[in-house]
């Protein structure tokens, strides 16, 4: 289990290969890559229907974090996942700083004997990361910068695991 908070990009293929290297009991690697979207993130769930305001194109995004607490929060989330499912390995990478649309923000990879555990743990880590890890996104558009609002759907997603 390794956690990285870094400015630089990462090599998805290498990360996924490293998760299972040297262990022949691993049958499943589930992973997630989060990317910067060019669309405005002011989406709100209204009675289950998504109404998106796609008027403002995002030109860049800056990720701020709380050094120290970020690593602690991610380690805590990973420890919860390991306690809950039968896992061989977990890798979490989260980038900080200024990123452009299409760039990778986050990677979560989970290796396990069986796919059910790998999928569940990977989604759990992402859901908890979204609501528990101290990162904040500020979008840049043609009309200026704005801090991204937290999404209610992220709280709902995290609440599923309780």
């Amino acid at each position: 289990m390794t956690i990285s908070v870094q400015e630089g990009d990462f090599d998805v293929g290498r990360e996924i290969a490293d998760l299972s290297s040297g262990c022949r009991e691993i049958g499943a690697v589930a992973s997630f890559v989060g990317l910067v979207r060019n669309a405005d993130a002011t989406e709100k769930e209204i009675n289950g229907l998504q109404s998106a305001n796609h008027s403002a194109q995002i030109t860049a995004m800056t990720l701020e974090h709380y050094p120290g607490m970020t690593e602690n929060a991610l380690a805590n989330i990973v420890a919860q996942a390991k306690a809950r499912w039968d896992l061989n390995n977990i890798r979490v990478i989260h980038r900080i700083g200024r990123l452009l649309p299409g760039e990778r923000i986050v990677f979560v990879g989970v290796a396990s004997a069986h796919r059910g555990d790998a999928f569940a743990a990977c989604e759990f880590v992402m859901d908890y990361l979204k609501t528990q890890a101290p990162f904040w996104k500020k979008e840049e558009t043609a009309t200026g910068g704005r801090w991204v609002d937290a999404r209610e759907t992220d709280d709902t997603a995290a609440a599923r695991w309780r």
Binding site: L63, K130, A133, P134, K137, V148, D149
Partner: protein
């Protein structure tokens, strides 16, 4: 021993600083009391009470407003997180 207070993201921009230190008055012994104490002291800190869903951490652990604060703690205030 003084208490360090940190601000992040939109709240950091609203209060105009990322951190400062203060000596806690004896009656300020929770995160919520610290928030009220700061907001009452100066217009500069009013964003602390204006921010919806203000979140807080004590010594880098997410807590609610009833959590205890003692001298020497690192207290952080911030909006809901939006990483990932």
């Amino acid at each position: 021993m003084s208490t360090t207070v940190l601000f992040f993201a939109g709240l950091r921009e609203a209060v105009g600083t990322s951190s400062f230190s203060l000596d806690l008055p004896p009656e300020v012994n929770t995160v919520g009391a610290l928030r009220e104490h700061l907001a009452a002291g100066s217009d500069r800190w009013s964003a602390l009470t204006r921010t919806t869903n203000l979140r807080a951490a004590v010594n880098q652990l997410m807590v609610d407003m009833n959590a205890a604060v003692t001298d020497g703690d690192e207290v952080a205030f911030f909006p809901p997180v939006t990483g990932g």
